[in-house]
């Protein structure tokens, strides 16, 4: 029996992707069990494996963990990606919570009706470049260190890199005005575990394709 964590989700990014990033950055191998149909989800719910009837669910250290933030907190703390004291954790939490807000915006793009997509994209770009990115650019500038918090790699760095790369998928030059984020991106991408995760054949998932949207909507019973 494998001691590896086991991830239960559909075969795509969604809310599980940041967990994949964290485990990968920590050098932790994991298995994945993909939900292909609504029946797969119903079966999992019926089995009592989902505390609140929802995925993501991660089997780890004898627990069936649910709730993305809870899972992320546990992995970050276990693998020393959560700072060295309460105040560093506070900073990491603030940075990560805002990144999660940005991730939500990015994630919801696919669900927008066709005639609203352009306006929605403009809002994403506005929030990214005026609300979120300037904060991290400033942190890097003020501290002059390689990482966001405590001069060591933390969950905040991993999640920020994930968000920067996703944002670039929407607008390739979105980092044009942020030189320090650009060098941060290059630097963190070269951390050996992360470099490996960014290579083809890793468990990193591609962006959701239009053609796959109906399947995802069906599994989660979205769209009325």
């Amino acid at each position: 029996m494998s001691g590896k964590p086991k991830l239960h989700y559909f075969n795509g990014r969604g809310r599980m992707e940041s967990i994949r990033w964290l485990l990968a950055a920590a050098g932790v191998e994991f298995d994945e069990c993909f939900l292909e149909t609504r029946d797969d989800l119903l079966k999992l719910q019926k089995s009592g494996a989902l505390l609140f009837q929802q995925v993501p669910m991660v089997e780890i250290d004898g627990m069936k963990m649910v709730q993305t933030r809870a899972i992320g907190n546990y992995i970050a703390a276990k693998y020393n990606l959560y700072g060295k004291d309460l105040k560093e954790r506070a900073l990491i939490d603030m940075y990560v919570e805002a990144i999660i807000d940005l991730d939500e915006l990015l994630m919801m793009y696919a669900l927008q009706p066709a005639d609203k997509k352009e306006q929605y994209l403009a809002n994403i770009v506005d929030k990214a470049t005026n609300r979120y990115f300037p904060v991290y650019e400033k942190v890097l500038k003020d501290q002059g260190q390689d990482f966001l918090v405590g001069n060591q790699l933390s969950r905040a760095d991993v999640q920020l890199l994930e968000a920067l790369l996703m944002a670039e998928e929407y607008k390739s030059d979105i980092l044009a005005k942020f030189p320090l984020l650009q060098s941060f991106k290059a630097r963190i991408s070269n951390v050996p575990t992360i470099k490996k995760f960014l290579q083809p054949g890793s468990q990193r998932k591609p962006p959701l394709q239009e053609k796959d949207l109906p399947k995802v909507m069906k599994i989660f019973n979205l769209g009325h």
Partner: protein
């Protein structure tokens, strides 16, 4: 100069109410500054006080903390309301996150359009009684202890207490099928710090009314 934490938010529950509950349960006195005008809010942004241009803002231990979960995690960690080890923290986090999902529905309810309110209220009651409360009823029944995690009061107990009362305000008989939660509610109500918080004159805020909704919309200049 006061060492007390300082809460900056609207004069109402919203996202700050959980912070008030947690600080009160930890017996930490705090001050509050209420946002009534857009000018105050714009000034906070211009001063650079709001890291992501949003409230809640809590000034605590030399930090200007934003992001509700970050604030709550810090308070819980500092005041020993976060369990004794990583696994207890994992359970506290799972419970808190589930409760937060339910609280979010209640939080957003006053801002939903009139024609959606009946449906949203039904959904709150449905989720409470079928998805969330059964989990906590079962946890309490299984270990037979007074608190959700680790046989001592934690952030999870305080949030559960908060959400029970909030749902009861909308659906008074919601705990009928949950005897463990009824006993839990009584027990928690009698803890001195919480008992004090539940009395008139405490920093606890009343349920949101039209004035609260219009103030929020005005200050945030949202249509």
């Amino acid at each position: 100069m006061s060492e007390k934490p300082r809460l900056i938010y609207f004069n109402g529950r919203g996202r700050m109410e959980s912070v008030r509950w947690l600080l009160a349960a930890a017996r930490v006195e705090f001050e509050e500054i209420f946002l009534d005008t857009r000018e105050q809010y714009v000034k906070l942004i211009k001063d650079g006080s709001l890291m992501f241009q949003q409230v809640p803002l809590v000034e605590i231990d030399g930090m200007k903390m934003v992001q509700t979960r970050a604030i709550l995690s810090y308070i819980a960690g500092k005041y020993n309301l976060y369990g004794k080890d990583l696994k207890e923290r994992a359970f506290i986090d799972m419970y808190v996150e589930g409760i937060t999902d339910l609280m979010h529905m209640i939080l957003m309810f006053p801002f939903s359009p009139p024609e959606a309110k009946e449906k949203n209220l039904a959904l709150i009651t449905e989720r409470a009684t079928h998805r969330y409360f059964p989990v906590f009823e079962k946890a309490l029944k299984q270990h037979g202890q007074d608190f959700l995690v680790g046989n001592q009061v934690s952030w999870a107990d305080i949030q559960l207490m908060e959400v029970i009362l909030a749902v009861e305000e909308k659906t008074p008989a919601v705990l009928l099928a949950f005897p463990q939660l009824q006993a839990f509610k009584t027990r928690m109500s009698n803890m001195p710090a919480i008992k004090k918080f539940l009395q008139p004159g405490s920093p606890r805020k009343p349920p949101p009314d039209d004035h609260y909704v219009s103030t929020v919309l005005k200050v945030l200049a949202e249509e």
